[in-house]
Amino acid sequence: MSRAPLPYSPKILELFRNPKNLGRMDDADAWAVAGNPACGDMITFYLKVGEGEVVERASFESYGCAANIATSSILTEMVKGKTLREAWEISWKQVAEEVGGLPSVKFHCGVLAVGAMRRAIREYYKRRGETPSWIPKEPTFEEKQALEEEELAKRLAKRIGGGI
């Protein structure tokens, strides 16, 4: 329960102050949420997909720390122009690198961003009723982490008796 030192990179601060691709996307082809306000970490990820399954635009909304905001924002940039398959391959470590490194207690914020993005991709294919073979049936590490975080928040809330 003790506090953690948070040496944020200049890039994180920059994205925190001026987040790119912020906000709800009304014409999104798919969107997904990861985390929830009870864990203090929550990201909504929106995708607009064009010709050849290339990501035209992505945007996000976030509830969480500066690292949460920065990693979600950078990820919306990273997926732009990539095919969904290429976007799927982006790992949280690449995201962390892209923002100039994350303090270790903040790894999970980058993980959550990737989790939200992959869920949005799954959602895209679900809506079309076809799932390509390169999408694993089981949730990937990042998606699992998102699930675990959601579960943990539920468990803690139950134990302490706070409602979510």
């Binding site: 329960m1 003790s2 506090r3 953690a4 948070l6 040496p7 944020y8 990179s9 200049p10 601060l13 925190f16 102050r17 987040p19 912020l22 906000g23 709800r24 969107w31 997904a32 949420v33 306000p37 009870a38 864990c39 203090g40 970490d41 929550m42 909504t44 909304e61 976030s62 509830y63 969480g64 720390c65 500066a66 949460n68 905001i69 207690v105 975080e149 943990l152 928040a153 803690l156 809330a157 302490i160 008796g161 706070g162 409602g163 979510i164």
Partner: protein
């Protein structure tokens, strides 16, 4: 380049800086620094246990400080004041020292759910040595549930620890009643109170309250960090928890830090010199800040009680749809320095235990910020802070957006 130099630079030229994070550290006012300076190299720089002039000077300085501080808390003897390196150490000494020395009297330690970690974690450690901790719940404003307390105390209770004023939400606990309930049911029990947030802000008198041990801290009254004290009523048996060369402080080994002790003494004197006026000033600014936030920002809630039941310096507010750590960063960029009870500021995914104990939901606890005002703050400071909070919460809420909803 250092690791966070860029972060510091990013703040640029600030219009004003208002430090409100007195919970976690404090700038030391120049008048108090001045009072410390001679003790670094002009006088009393010797070891107070040695037989030469600088040693005797140190002995005299420490004795006088203890005498004064004893007077401020209503202790009978200067010997009852034991200087330690701070609140954490004093709490560790109180709990471990009392439990270990008196284990024959029982195995039960009784505390509230909202004690500081330097109490709760020590209890957890003592459980490894056969002690049992019972945590008494608190109500929605942080007041100890006295009925639960009555049910929980029996002869097995060897030690009780209840803070006088909660450091996070400012609740002024009815310590006298709590002492009576505990001593009634377990006369041998030793009663400790962490009074770090009471000292210098509310009347606090160890004899009138009937406590055996009390922790006070220097930086919480604008003195330097690195020094605090444990009041130990004379005759209360306590085990030392550190070994080494003991000097004037019979419960804490090592060489006494005279300049810090003098800073603590000077800070105490300044806090008590105009006690009523200081407190009135803090209370007015506290209420200005609380009311300004509640009136100026939607979906904001006050944590802890109001008016006379609340410490005169404490402000703790939760904002929904606005995560607390982000808010501390955003406010910092505007020159307003506060802390948060959000899980994002902690090592594990759990927000402040105090806010959960008073029944705050997780999302309420994550959006909390803690501020303390001092006699040095001005109305202009508070106006500036209110504006900064309104702007910062508004911007962060645009990032929250609709959250897919």
């Amino acid at each position: 380049m250092g690791r966070v130099e860029e972060l510091i630079k990013a703040h640029g030229e600030l219009e004003r800086e208002v430090y409100l994070d007195f919970e976690n550290s404090s700038p030391v006012p120049s008048e108090i620094v001045e009072a410390m300076l001679p003790y670094f190299n002009r006088i009393a720089y010797g070891n107070p246990t040695l037989t030469h002039k600088p040693g005797w000077e140190a002995y005299e300085a420490i004795w006088k400080s203890a005498e004064k501080i004893a007077g401020f808390i209503g202790a009978r003897e200067p010997e009852e004041i034991n200087f330690t390196p701070g609140e954490t150490e004093a709490n560790n000494l109180a709990l471990m020292g009392a439990a270990l020395k008196n284990r024959r009297n029982g195995r039960k330690i009784i505390v509230s759910e909202i004690e500081p970690l330097s109490v709760l974690h020590v209890c957890r450690m003592l459980e490894n040595y056969g002690f049992i901790t019972v945590k008494v719940p608190v109500d929605g404003e942080g007041f100890v549930d006295l009925e639960e307390l009555k049910r929980a105390v029996d002869r097995e209770v060897v030690l009780a620890s209840f803070m006088s004023v909660n450091n996070e939400i400012g609740t002024i606990e009815p310590i006298k009643e709590i002492v009576e309930i505990v001593k009634d049911r377990s006369p041998e029990a030793i009663f400790h109170t962490d009074a770090s947030d009471a000292y210098g802000r509310i009347p606090f008198h160890v004899e009138r309250l009937g406590v055996d041990l009390a922790t006070i801290s220097s930086y919480k009254i604008l003195g330097p960090r690195g020094v605090g004290a444990l009041y130990v009523r004379s005759g209360v048996p306590l085990e030392k928890i550190l070994e080494g060369q003991f000097g004037t402080q019979k419960l804490w080994p090592g060489v006494e830090n005279t300049p810090l002790i003098m800073g603590f003494y000077s800070a105490s004197e300044k806090a008590f010199a105009n006690f009523e006026r200081n407190v009135e000033h803090m209370r007015r600014l506290r209420d200005k800040l609380i009311n300004g936030i509640l009136e100026g920002v939607d979906e904001a809630i006050l944590n802890g009680p109001r008016d006379d039941k609340r410490a005169p310096d404490n402000v703790n507010v939760s904002f929904l749809k606005c995560e607390g750590e982000s808010l501390t960063v955003e406010l910092s960029l505007k020159g307003v320095y506060v802390s948060s009870g959000s899980a994002c500021t902690r090592r594990i995914l759990q927000p402040s235990h105090v806010l959960l104990a008073i029944g705050r939901r997780f999302e309420e606890a994550h959006g909390s910020i803690l501020m303390k005002v001092t006699r040095y703050h001005t109305d202009e400071d508070i106006d500036y802070v209110l504006r900064a909070i309104r702007e910062s919460v508004a911007r962060l809420r645009t990032i929250y957006g609709s959250m897919g909803g």
